[in-house]
């Protein structure tokens, strides 16, 4: 069965603190920090976008995979912030890493679930024998409307996975998908910022699908929370993944290694995939990891991985996710943030 051959993450250096955003809007920073369990978030620089971050994360994944990019038969980029409405992100990525021209390429979009979708599809193509290796990336430079609660969480980051057979670092033991038509969060064409349905995004949307998917895949596998060394859930803020894990019976220690959102923010399509990279960075051979993504609209993909001995060989071949998150940070003020996120209306 297919597995993860190589993995890598990337996030920008810039950070903005919750206090700085709250200061501008006259909002109560302590209540956001406590209520959403968020402290700061990553902000892309002037020339960074979903494609550049996808390339960076893929370079890290290739260092760990140690394969010739020409053998990659599929490149899938999942994002809700593809730089172009018409023209794929994946072609740029595939060309940048030298995977073209004999490669299938597509962009995915399913709110925050687009990253795990690429992983899901690559696994099927590898298992079906259509390709030798597949590259799946979840990347986003998410935007929240100025002053909206989303502005405290919408962040930037990417995670890349090379899926294949052979010397995997993590076997995929089970996959599972859980989906309904639940309009909790959306952005129509030509709208700059997404809209959301307030508290409806919680219980009937995020929790229903994440818990439904987690329970479904554990039932399929005959597994219980104690059977896993780690669990990674989609992280729209700091609070939701921790609460989802606790509702399912996971302990804080199982969730913490992949729990990046308090200081990273919500990287949308990159969220749970980046959590998985941070978890693989600390996992030991034989560890089982549960990963459940979530995309508004709404659905969750579930995966159960088993880490192999190869993790020890490749772990240090590229920067570790938590190290990138905790070091080399550059704090910016709201004015800089507004400039970088193109919130300022310029002269024509």
């Amino acid at each position: 069965m297919a597995g993860i051959i190589g993995y890598g993450a990337y996030m920008p250096r810039n950070r903005i603190k919750v206090e700085e955003i709250a200061r501008v809007w006259g909002a109560d920073a302590p209540s956001y920090k406590k209520g959403l369990m968020l402290r700061e978030k990553a902000v892309p620089s002037q020339d960074q976008d979903t494609i550049t971050m996808a390339v960076e994360a893929t370079k890290h994944a290739l260092k760990r995979a140690k394969i010739d990019p020409k053998r990659i038969g599929a490149v899938y980029v999942g994002s809700e912030s593809h730089p172009y409405a018409v023209k794929p992100s994946g072609t740029v990525l595939a060309d940048a890493i030298g995977a073209t021209p004999e490669v299938h390429c597509a962009d995915f979009e399913f709110a925050c679930k687009a990253g795990s979708e690429g992983m899901f599809v690559c696994m099927g193509l590898v298992d079906g024998g259509a390709i030798e290796y597949g590259l799946a990336v979840g990347a986003d430079t998410s935007q929240g409307a100025p002053g909206d609660a989303l502005e405290y969480s919408a962040a930037a980051g990417a995670a890349a996975f090379i899926i294949g057979k052979g010397p995997v670092v993590a076997k995929v033991l089970h996959t599972y998908a859980y989906m309904t038509d639940t309009p909790d969060f959306w952005r129509r064409e030509h709208m700059h910022y997404p809209r959301h349905a307030g508290r409806f995004t919680g219980e009937p949307a995020y929790f229903k699908h994440v818990l439904g998917c987690a329970k479904g895949i554990m039932a399929k596998a005959g597994a219980k929370p104690a059977d896993f060394a780690y669990a990674v859930f989609h992280q729209p803020n700091g609070k939701f993944p921790m609460r989802a894990g606790q509702m399912l019976g996971f302990k804080k220690e199982q969730i913490e290694p992949g729990w990046l959102s308090p200081t990273l923010g919500n990287t949308y399509s990159g969220s749970s995939p980046m959590g998985l990279t941070a978890t693989l960075d600390v996992a030991k051979p034989g560890d089982r990891i549960l990963m459940v993504s979530y995309g508004s609209g709404a659905g969750s993909d579930g995966f159960i991985y088993e880490v192999t001995d190869r993790i020890e060989e490749v772990r240090d071949a590229a920067p570790k996710t938590r190290d990138m998150l905790d070091s080399n940070k550059r704090y910016i003020d709201y004015g800089t943030y507004a400039k970088l996120r193109r919130k300022i209306r310029m002269g024509e």
Binding site: D28, S31, G35, A197, G198, R199, F200, E203, P204
Partner: protein, 385 residues
């Protein structure tokens, strides 16, 4: 006028009922009330609902709800007087029966508030204030009640802790009510330190946004003795009064004169006074509201309402238990249903069906439901037969 009795009540758990529509919520409560009364039909119905048009885009509720209840072609009317709509619907049902126009009448209330976001709900609720002189100037209900709280503190020395004690007491009662939206306890410190909404009111001083329904069946006391499987509860008084719509038009913004007038009228009709009431369900949309209401109803001297919860006098087991159901604060506040739910709690208390939150030996209970900042108020007194 004929004597009127309540013979059935129905209510399901309140909360954020994402899977249910307004008509589902109402119909479930109405069917429970009809079943509780043991009747096979109703002759008319009145339903309190404040703002179904703004919350779910549906008006003409009298027709919608009798249709979905399967009771057409009976006369069915929606009653609206802001947050007092439920109490007013119950009053209309009582007057209908008392007049002899109909025999078995359903009084219901419903609100489906979570189909709009926080801003939409704030706007819909704000229409209960004076649109031209208050709302268009930017004030919201938390803002208006915050002004009342500041005035009460300034004039009477009411404290932040006294406000907190109202929330603490109501959540304690609500923690024993399986139908409450937020059946958990809070501490004085938690209330004071929760998110500030409108100084001095924090989020735990405010009643929540709630989906919920409630229904009661009333008939003549004579018919009740014949029809009712359970001990009927007699309606001893039904009163309604109004005040200025705008807070700034009042001589004293911390005094609720519509509550005082409705209370006095109810006491007079029932031949009773505050000392005869065993418990009261009041409209604690904000903690300060409960303090003002228990003064206006004569349970505490003017300016002394803050001591009620702090001293334990308004606790279940205290001198005058206030909001044994948990009140709007803990049980929830689906605006149009609130007044009917107060009637339901009172009927259940008088039947002795309230378990851990039962007011021992309760024979006479009062309900007080108000709209806006007290621009309208409906008071009922109910008693065991």
């Amino acid at each position: 006028m004929r004597d009127v009795a309540v013979i059935g009540v129905g209510m399901q758990k309140w909360g954020e009922l994402w899977e249910k529509s307004l008509r589902d919520i109402f119909t479930e409560s109405a069917l429970l009330a009809i079943d509780d009364a043991g009747v096979d039909h109703i002759d008319a119905m009145y339903v309190g609902c404040m703002s179904s048009g703004l919350f779910v885009g549906q008006e003409h509720l009298g027709c919608v709800l009798s249709d979905y209840l399967g009771m057409g072609p009976i006369p069915s009317l929606r009653v609206e007087t802001a947050c007092a709509s439920g109490g007013a619907a119950f009053r209309q049902a009582c007057l209908d029966v008392a007049s002899g126009a109909h025999e078995i009448v359903l009084a219901g209330g419903v609100e489906k508030m979570t189909d709009v976001d926080g801003g939409g709900a704030t706007f819909a609720l704000s229409t209960a204030a004076d649109a031209e002189y208050e709302v268009y100037q930017g004030v919201t209900f938390p803002g208006l009640y915050a002004m009342m709280a500041v005035a009460h503190m300034h004039q009477h020395g009411t404290t932040r802790d006294q406000l907190s004690h109202v929330a603490v007491k109501n959540h304690k009662n609500g923690s024993k009510n399986p139908l409450a939206q937020y059946p958990f306890e809070v501490t004085v410190q938690q209330v004071a330190e929760s998110i500030l909404v409108a100084d001095p009111l924090t989020i735990l001083d405010c009643s929540p946004i709630t989906d919920g329904g409630a229904a009661a069946i009333v008939c003549s006391l004579d018919a009740a003795k014949r029809l009712s499987k359970k001990q009927p509860v007699k309606v001893l008084a039904s009163a309604h009064a109004t005040d200025s719509i705008a807070l700034h038009s009042r001589r004293d913004i911390s005094w609720l004169s519509a509550v005082e007038k409705a209370g006095q009228s109810a006491y007079k009709d029932a031949g009773l006074g505050p000392r005869d009431i065993n418990f009261v369900e009041v409209h604690d949309c904000f903690t300060i509201a409960e303090i003002c209401v228990i003064e206006a109803l004569g349970f505490f001297e003017r300016g002394k309402g803050g001591r009620g919860a702090e001293s334990g006098e308004t606790a279940v087991g205290g001198r005058i238990p206030v909001n044994p159901s948990g009140g709007l604060k803990s049980k929830g506040h689906p605006v149009g249903a609130t007044g009917v739910a107060q009637i339901i709690e009172t009927v259940k208390q008088l039947r002795g069906d309230c378990g851990e939150r039962q007011v021992k030996g309760a024979k006479i209970g009062m309900t007080q439901n108000m709209g806006g900042t007290g621009g309208s108020c409906v008071v009922h007194i109910l008693g065991s037969v």
